[in-house]
């Protein structure tokens, strides 16, 4: 039993309410927008090779997002979500970890999966929900997942991955693995009960999990100041007894530094860490959203000036690790490859009708098999109404 917290409190005899904003939370910045590092800034572990990998991942991210929004506008794709303006959070986070660390993301962290090496074909097959999709065409576009790459399949309900990440990390600890779990979520999802549950349990049961909040200012249309009244999400970490840091989320070096240090700490101490990365969702929430209904062009322009990819490029250029010719060649190549991959994936067959009943359980129960047989008979009767499957039923 631990009731020492009361004994340690200084005793007063006049009411002393503590102000809700009395905890001051600094923000870590390493890299300036012009590509210069701040004086005295502590750099993450990074060299030309790893920096180039990170930068190429960011470029791929930007190119893919642009192409897929265009594809959705052309009616080729049902839905898409960009991470425009906040790509550093996911790519930098993954770069600060090891391949065996589990990534449990919300849905705007495809950059982490790109960094892990998920192929362009895999991205496309998922988005076009064809029969080659690892998820068997069951979830809307951008709900990626890969066991091989330790990237947990995305789930639409918000914040459910937070207590799950605590459990996952607890399991890693029980097995004594050299592995942690990183859990991404937004400042909006942090209002869900699962956020409280997950952070509190991680602190109490000492799980090596890195909670990574992308505070991008908006939950669809709801601005952060209508989401919470406290000092961001970071202040809550302190309340749960969790080591916490706030960083500039558009600063790839700050993201990398914080994640590297958090991993070391989480693993050595078997304790969670909370990182709050301040950023801005430059794009719409999704292709079904139109931000002009709730924010101004001026506000967006202000944040365009903080573009994380341009910031890293400036640093790469200053280090002479990158040049404009490489930049042009890379983006031309990416655009070409992505367009070609769209054309391939969009004509691959839908999954077979049998996939309707697999993976509900490890083995389909009797009733489910009977329902499938009944459906097949029906499809055979009206083949023109079910063109994707009718021709393939045995």
């Amino acid at each position: 039993m631990n009731t020492d917290v009361y004994k340690e409190s200084p005793v007063v005899h006049q009411p002393a309410f503590i102000d809700g904003h009395s905890v001051e939370i600094p923000i870590l910045k390493v890299l300036q927008q012009d590509g210069n590092v701040y004086d005295g800034a502590e750099l993450p572990v990074i060299d030309q090779e790893s920096a180039t990998k990170i930068y190429k991942t960011l470029a791929f991210h930007r190119a893919l997002d642009e192409r897929m929004v265009a594809s959705q506008r052309q009616g080729r794709l049902s839905f898409y979500m960009t991470a425009l303006g906040e790509e550093a959070a996911s790519v930098g986070g993954a770069a600060g970890l090891k391949p065996q660390d589990m990534i449990m993301a919300q849905y705007r962290e495809q950059g982490a999966l790109m960094y892990r090496g998920f192929s362009l074909e895999n991205f496309m097959n998922q988005m076009f929900s064809n029969e080659k999709d690892l998820g068997k065409g069951r979830q809307m576009p951008i709900h990626y997942g890969s066991r091989e790459l330790n990237y947990m399949t995305i789930s639409s309900p918000l914040a459910t991955q937070i207590p799950q990440a605590t459990g996952y990390a607890y399991g890693q600890k029980l097995q004594g693995l050299d592995a942690v779990t990183i859990c991404y979520f937004g400042e909006g999802a942090a209002s869900e009960g699962d956020f409280h549950a997950g952070l509190n349990m991680a602190a109490v049961h000492r799980a090596p999990v890195i909670f990574f909040c992308r505070n991008n200012g908006y939950a669809i249309s709801t601005p952060a100041d209508e989401q919470y009244a406290g000092n961001g999400i970071a202040s809550r970490g302190v309340g749960y007894g969790i080591k916490t840091i706030r960083i500039d989320g558009n600063d790839i070096l700050a993201v990398l530094k914080a994640t590297q240090d958090a991993r070391t700490y989480a693993l050595a101490e078997n304790k969670p860490v909370l990182i709050e990365a301040m950023s801005y969702r430059l794009g719409a929430h999704s292709t079904s959203d139109d931000p002009s209904g709730y924010r101004t062009r001026e506000e967006e322009a202000k944040w365009q000036a903080h573009d994380p990819i341009l910031r890293m490029k400036n640093w790469m250029l200053a280090n002479k690790w990158w040049d404009e010719e490489q930049e042009t060649t890379l983006f031309d190549k990416l655009r070409e490859e992505i367009l070609a991959a769209v054309k391939v994936a969009e004509i691959i067959d839908k999954p077979p009708v049998e996939d309707l009943i697999t993976d509900v359980y490890d083995e389909p129960p009797t009733l489910l098999k009977a329902q499938l047989e009944e459906l097949k008979l029906h499809i055979k009767k009206y083949p023109e109404a079910y063109p994707f499957t009718a021709g393939r039923i045995k």
């Binding site: 066991r147 459990g167 509900v360």
Partner: protein, 325 residues
């Protein structure tokens, strides 16, 4: 063999499961040193250590969220929800997460190692928040298995099967029987099959079907009916989802009559699902309408519990009505 009550049988199953697999972990509110409010996890922390048997903070959605993550990682979580009445904060984690984990990932990930234990049911003067039987909510969710034992022998064998099953299982424990139901239970390891009903007593005139604590009620009604010369075939469904249609169909095809009884309210309870399926499968064999004898469509009462419940007399009346139809 040993004399065990239902709690001992569950505790014994947990000891076996945690001994055979060092990745099995038991947790929930008050589950640790105290051994749970009903003492089902008594002695586990002493035996297996605080890392494998522990108290959680008081947050059901956290308990199940944590359990989902542990299961996805490859551990074997056995999570306790202190009362089934308090499972609803975890409804999203169970219905949207546990049940869909494998399907939505195309089998990249699953939480098949997950077992959720929770005491359910009335008859303990628990009023509306310590008496509910919420199995039907979960039976409406593909991807889950829902299991309810009726006595200590069944509890041990079905719980071990649930823990080892490669799908998430909700294991509803009839808390009225925790200490009241005592019987011979093998001390060694054994399993009873999931998804299989059991014909407890063969009969020829009418089929009586129930699960969990309600089995006692229909058995008592069958004894009364026997004095009237009515032969009842008594079936324990045991697994609510996926349920054993075949065994029930075979029985009703033979008897031509069916009474289903459940503790939960009538409307949209699992008895309704059974009635719909059996009228389809056995339509030409039925001699009378299928009867559902259930709790009333109200919250679970306190002082009027006796009047509210589907007791043996209500089941007995339904049997007579069916026979005389």
């Amino acid at each position: 063999m040993a004399q065990m009550n239902l709690l001992h049988a569950i505790n014994n199953a947990l000891v076996i499961a945690m001994t055979e697999n060092e990745r099995a972990v038991c947790f929930g509110e008050d589950v640790g040193h105290f051994g749970g409010v009903f003492r089902a996890t008594s002695g586990l922390q002493e035996k297996f250590g605080k890392l494998r048997c522990f108290n959680t903070p008081l947050v059901e959605q956290g308990v199940i969220g944590f359990a989902n993550g542990l299961a996805a990682q490859g551990s074997v979580p056995i999570a306790e929800i202190q009362f089934a009445d308090y499972i609803f904060p975890a409804f999203d984690q169970i219905v949207n997460e546990s049940a869909k984990f494998r399907y939505r990932s195309g089998n990249e990930f699953d939480v098949g190692n997950l077992t959720i234990r929770t005491p359910y049911g009335g008859g303990i003067a628990g009023g509306l928040y310590h008496s509910q039987s919420p199995e039907a909510y979960f039976a409406h969710t593909p991807g889950l298995k829902v299991v309810v034992p009726r006595n200590p022998y069944q509890a041990k064998g079905l719980l071990l099967a649930s823990i080892r099953d490669k799908n998430p299982v909700i294991f509803f424990e009839p808390k009225r029987l925790y200490r009241a139901s005592v019987g011979e239970v093998p001390t060694e390891d054994y399993q009873l099959p999931l998804g299989k009903a059991e014909v407890v007593t063969p009969g020829s005139d009418i089929t009586l079907l129930a699960w969990g604590a309600q089995m006692e009620i229909i058995e008592k009604a069958a004894e009364m009916a026997a004095t009237d010369g009515i032969s009842c075939e008594i079936i324990d469904l045991r697994t609510i989802l996926p349920w054993d249609i075949e065994t029930v169909v075979n029985s009703v095809t033979k008897t031509g009559r069916l009474v289903v009884s459940q503790e939960a309210p009538l409307t949209a309870g699992f008895a309704s699902e059974i009635a719909a399926t059996i009228q389809k499968e056995c339509f030409l064999h039925l001699e009378s309408p299928i009867a559902r004898i259930c709790g009333m469509d109200t919250p679970y009462p306190l002082s009027l519990e006796k009047e509210y419940v589907a007791d043996h007399l209500k089941v007995y009346e339904a049997i007579k009505h069916s026979i005389n139809y």
